[in-house]
Symmetry: C2
Subunit: 203 residues, 2 copies
């Protein structure tokens, strides 16, 4: 069970919930009340099943959190790996990474929301924060490379540029309501991040 | 006391804390443990004084929250008022508002951090959310006006543009460490928001 991730279902003859749908409810509840503020008792009540029925699927709250944040992080690292394998200029790999990250955020919104609220109080949270830092480093390195290529403005520190762009990307968890295609939001973020909001007749 | 705000001190012969320094400690604790997760008992312990000594300054936890979020909001609305009174194009008023908002965030970082975490469970929180919405409306209206002037790109919905720019601004509470002058961060946000991260030889 531990290594299966949230898309693999598990039944063992229990009706009602597979691991994926159980995880979806757990993530919604964690986002609503905070991870620390949610007990397995609360989760059982929300699901309308007993705690022992939950323990048929997972070892406990920490495993639910780990599966949830890994679902968000796996999505982001898949995009980073794809970007790293592209031919061409660093600025184009960066744009691929920004667009792909927005898509992951939108498609896995509750999971990324939970990830971004993790503060590092448990082993699982500290591991998630360490993976986030590795991702941030990939972004910062790509910005720095694109700046050396002369494709990214040299008058802002690359690490700061990376943080501000992903600050904009991550802000989606605060207000974005998924509906229909994710193309408009992906395009909007990429346009504003790369070329700004000013209407530029030379563009 | 109620109307004084956090910069006015109040002593009444009590040594150790005036209202401003008490509020600073309360805000730090709210940000650390969450407003709901912090009791007046916790606050008294952190301050090293009795609960009744706190009640010499404020009527309770709600008043501390109100003073704190109003300190953040008053800063933002002052900038919005100043921007509104400027002569000139909407895009320039918008840039004034973005720059001023970053300055307020940096100068009142713990207060704005608390404001951005408010979820609306109490009267004070609902009032703060209502003021935030009024501020967001001012920003969105200014973006729409600048777009009608032909100064802001017309290919992104003005409300979305406003949200993304302030998503970038607000992300500062997650990672910005104030040190020295706030000019570099103000400039970086304004440059990236208005002209993007791409190095543009025609800029």
């Amino acid at each position: 069970m531990t290594a299966t991730g949230p898309t693999r279902t598990s039944r063992r003859g229990r009706p009602g919930y597979d691991l994926e749908s159980l995880l979806g409810v757990a993530v919604a509840l964690f986002n609503e009340r905070g991870y620390d503020g949610t007990s397995m008792e609360d989760l059982a009540r929300r699901l309308g099943i007993t705690k022992s029925a939950i323990y048929h699927h997972v070892s406990g709250k920490q495993e639910l959190l780990r599966l949830a944040v890994d679902h968000a992080l796996d999505g982001l690292f898949t995009v980073a790996d794809e970007a790293g394998k592209l031919d061409g200029r660093a600025v184009d790999r960066l744009e691929y990474l920004v667009r792909g990250s927005v898509r992951v955020l939108v498609e896995r919104l509750p999971f990324v929301t939970l990830l971004l609220r993790v503060r590092g109080n448990t082993e699982v949270e500290r591991a998630a924060l360490a993976r986030r830092r590795r991702f941030d480093r990939i972004v910062a390195d790509l910005v720095a490379e694109a700046e050396r290529d002369g494709d990214i403005r040299p008058d802002v520190d690359p690490a700061l540029t990376a943080r501000l762009v992903f600050g904009m990307v991550n802000s989606l968890v605060e207000w974005y309501q998924p509906r229909g295609s994710d193309t408009p939001i992906v395009d909007a973020v990429a346009k504003i991040a790369f070329d700004g909001i000013r209407d530029n007749p030379t563009r």
